[in-house]
């Protein structure tokens, strides 16, 4: 399946963080590559939504909505700075 990009989860990110996050800059915890959240490879048909590092494919973001709650896993980043 072709990857989309972080624009595709922009709405979910606003709901989870309370503000625009696609222009936030993250550092990949595996390869150290830096990218905006908009510039990640995004898969919507995983269980939940998954964003991966374009350079090394490391899983950076997992978001799952369960019974009205959004569970967000960001442990793939070593740093994440809102714009």
């Amino acid at each position: 399946m072709d990857a989309l990009d972080g624009n595709a989860i922009a709405g979910q990110l606003v709901v989870a963080f309370g503000h625009e996050m696609t222009t936030a800059s993250g550092v990949c915890g595996r390869c150290g590559g830096q990218a905006l959240l908009a510039e990640t490879n995004v898969y919507l048909r995983a269980p939940g939504s998954v964003a991966r590092c374009r350079a090394c494919d490391n899983v950076l973001v997992v978001m799952v909505e369960v019974r009205g709650y959004t569970v967000v896993d960001l442990t793939g980043f070593s740093a994440l700075e809102p714009a």
């Binding site: 595709a8 709405g11 222009t23």
Partner: protein, 247 residues
């Protein structure tokens, strides 16, 4: 009270369909009147949610086709034959119906007059939609940055906003170029092939002019165009991309 407390949050709202305009055989523009709308920036999108009688919900993102100055919210949706949401929006939705949406969303794939240019817009298929919002914003604000647009479609029949884009090319200082990849009318003098590095190189300003580039289309289209530009020496940070897929 409740609305004030929720200000700034991204909430679902019911927008009334004011008008439907058939753009091509497979695409329709939906003009909406959301009750709680604070305006948008060119390039942003909304999330649309459909709920079936049994409670099943399906949600998709659609780019905003109108400029912030247009005074209404317009989405343009392409019908995907095996889609879960777009066949309803294109075939079944009627004026006066209500559509559940939230937005505006996104801060990355956005162009505002203050960002300057030169502005290079590259669209594939319905990827033209957010670029059309940027072009309208450019015209509405009398921005004087040079604008070039490259629009790839399968045939002239599938060119969305065809007359408007051709008019922008003829009446304003906007350089609009089309490439028709499958079928060309007799006497066609535009491009007639899929985008590749040569075509991008021919249309784009030299990297030294530092254009601000927006590319929207299917994933493979976007990646071909973005890789070509970076290969030609354009700064990756000035090449902004938005991919869509048959999700």
């Amino acid at each position: 009270m409740e609305r004030a407390a929720l200000r700034g949050r991204l909430s679902w709202q019911l927008a009334t369909v004011v008008e439907l305009v058939e753009q091509t055989r497979r695409t329709k523009s939906i003009v909406l009147d959301p009750p709680d709308w604070t305006g948008h920036r060119a390039g942003q999108h909304v999330d649309v949610r459909l709920t079936a009688d049994d409670g099943y919900q399906a949600q998709r993102s659609y780019s905003i086709a109108s400029a912030p100055e247009d005074g209404h919210l317009e989405l343009t949706v392409e019908r995907l034959d095996d889609g879960e949401v777009s066949p309803y929006l294109v075939d079944d939705l009627r004026s006066g119906d209500q559509l559940e949406l939230r937005g505006p969303i996104g801060g990355y794939f956005v162009w505002e007059r203050s960002l300057g240019g030169p502005l290079l817009l590259i669209g594939g298929g319905s990827g033209i939609v957010p670029l059309r919002a940027m072009l309208r914003h450019h015209l509405a604000t009398a921005s004087d940055v040079p604008v070039r647009m490259l629009y790839s479609a399968r045939s002239l029949d599938e060119v969305i906003y065809r007359e408007e884009l051709m008019r922008a090319g003829a009446e304003h200082a906007v350089d609009v170029r089309f490439t028709l990849t499958r079928k060309q009318p007799a006497g066609w003098d535009g491009y007639a092939r899929r985008i590749d590095r040569d075509l991008i190189g021919e249309v784009a300003w030299p990297a030294g002019d530092r254009p601000l580039v927006y590319i929207c289309g299917p994933t493979a289209f976007v990646e071909t165009a973005a890789e070509a530009l970076v290969g030609l020496g354009h700064e990756p940070g000035r090449v902004r991309t938005e991919r869509f897929g048959p999700t």
